[in-house]
Amino acid sequence: MKNDLTRLPIIKNCAYCLSHVPGLMPYGSKPYREISHNAAIEAELNAHLRSYEEAVCYPPNQTFIGNYSPDDLAAIPRPWFGKSIDFAQASAIKKGKFGEILNQETFFALLKLADVLSPPLFSTDKATLQKLHQCLVDHPLLNDFARKLTVLPADLEEPLAEKTSPLSLPLRVGKDVYGTFSGDLRSEGRDDENLVARYLLENLCAKASGSLAVKWLLHREGIGPEQIDFLISCGEEACGDRYQRGGGGMAKSIGEMCGCINASGMDIKNFCAAPASALVTASALVQAGVFKQIVVVGGGSLAKLGMKFQAFLDHKMQILDDCLASIAFLVTQNDGASPVIRLEDGAIGKVPIGASTSDESVFRHYLLKPLAALGLQCTDVDRYALELQNPEIMEFAGSGDVAKKNYRKIAAMAVMAKQLDKKDMNSWIDQVGMPGFAPTQGHIPSAVPYIGHAMEDMRRGKINRAMFLSRASLFLNRCTNLLDGVSFILERNPNLK
């Protein structure tokens, strides 16, 4: 089977969405903790939020949804933030090739829809429900959802909360309270610290944003949800109660919301490398003939919203990590046109448990070895995608340009493997690398934001081969000191003219 690329599975389509939710930033992990210590921070935070139009026109966000290529972004001089914007233009570019940047009101409509509990977690009043319903009606892709959002539960009597308490979180658009989000206050949920408002909100945000990405994926592919036979979720949320904190079920929750009635699903957990692990697993399932049309979906991370807010306040800037990001990919059998996932023996990179966690060891295992398995060198890959966090967010936060650092690592490894000269490191990085452009949403920026652009570049014959390398900080689970590394190679379909 080696080198018969026409029999390998493909990534057939992709979708990338952002949901601009500044009103939810106080419920991100870092802002919530800081506001708990010092209530005055909330007002300061709220005074440094971007408008929807500013978030739409922000070049890295436009790159994420596919209106700019990474090379287009690289040609735009920094700083990318704070440029004057044309409000009319924002309306034209809020939708991109790969997806859209959704406004907060419509996101709340999705969130309300995602809430299946009775009594609801997301309580609202009649007038607001009408508004949310109208958002869905007005949205060309979401209006089939609208009819599900018409009936208000009969037992809703309480006024909407204005103040945040652990039991109820006001959901605001600007100064307007659209509803209250509570924990599971039924007898089965009341004393369970895993079912408090913030965690359930985190999970529903992943479900709502993930569903948006899946809707876009199905729309771009022109197929109905009933044609999907399996979904794999790759987010970092933990769904479950006191007896099974991380039980899962997010894939099927998203599938249910999107109408994938013939599909089953499962959640893959691998920290930031979960999207890569999920794509590898999906490919293997397709290759083995177990399933035919698999959706890999990653919902956004509420916990990471506003993670770097302090750095922006210190610089008296607007807070740039104000969006939930969501991604979806369609993995199927070879169609003679779409990029092929190299699944041959040894071509999927891994970092074994017994390997040292030094850079040299990690990169030898998940960069050099898979290439060698295919008889390739580092210089045989046209573009690489590693950590693609937006450098404007990372640099203000004091972490430096994470994307660039990772390119330096593969260049260093190539030099050590005598596949590249030391003096050519920087020029090679310019050739194979790209600026980061994804928001700091954990699993989202890890290599996969480039897949859509790679598909475009392959379609146009600009590149033949792209390699995706994803690292996971497993040590954050406090059970190990290990890292994980997962890599895969996408190749232009040989049958594509």
Binding site: C272, S356, T357, S358, D359, E387, Q389, M394, A397, G398, S399, G400, V402, K405, N406, T440, G442, P445, R471, S473, F475, L476, N481, L483
Partner: protein, 41 residues
């Protein structure tokens, strides 16, 4: 210079990990009393 010294190590995943730093110091005879690797992403 490092022999017999007690060391607190702070590493970062995308810079130099605490583990790698710690191994170098241990090889030089130092004793690691605290080690952490931050993940800033």
């Amino acid at each position: 210079m490092l022999k017999g010294k007690k060391v607190i190590v702070f590493g970062e995943r995308d810079d130099i990990s605490g583990e790698t730093t710690g191994r170098c110091l241990q090889a030089a005879g130092a004793e690691i009393i605290y080690e952490s690797t931050a993940c800033f992403v």
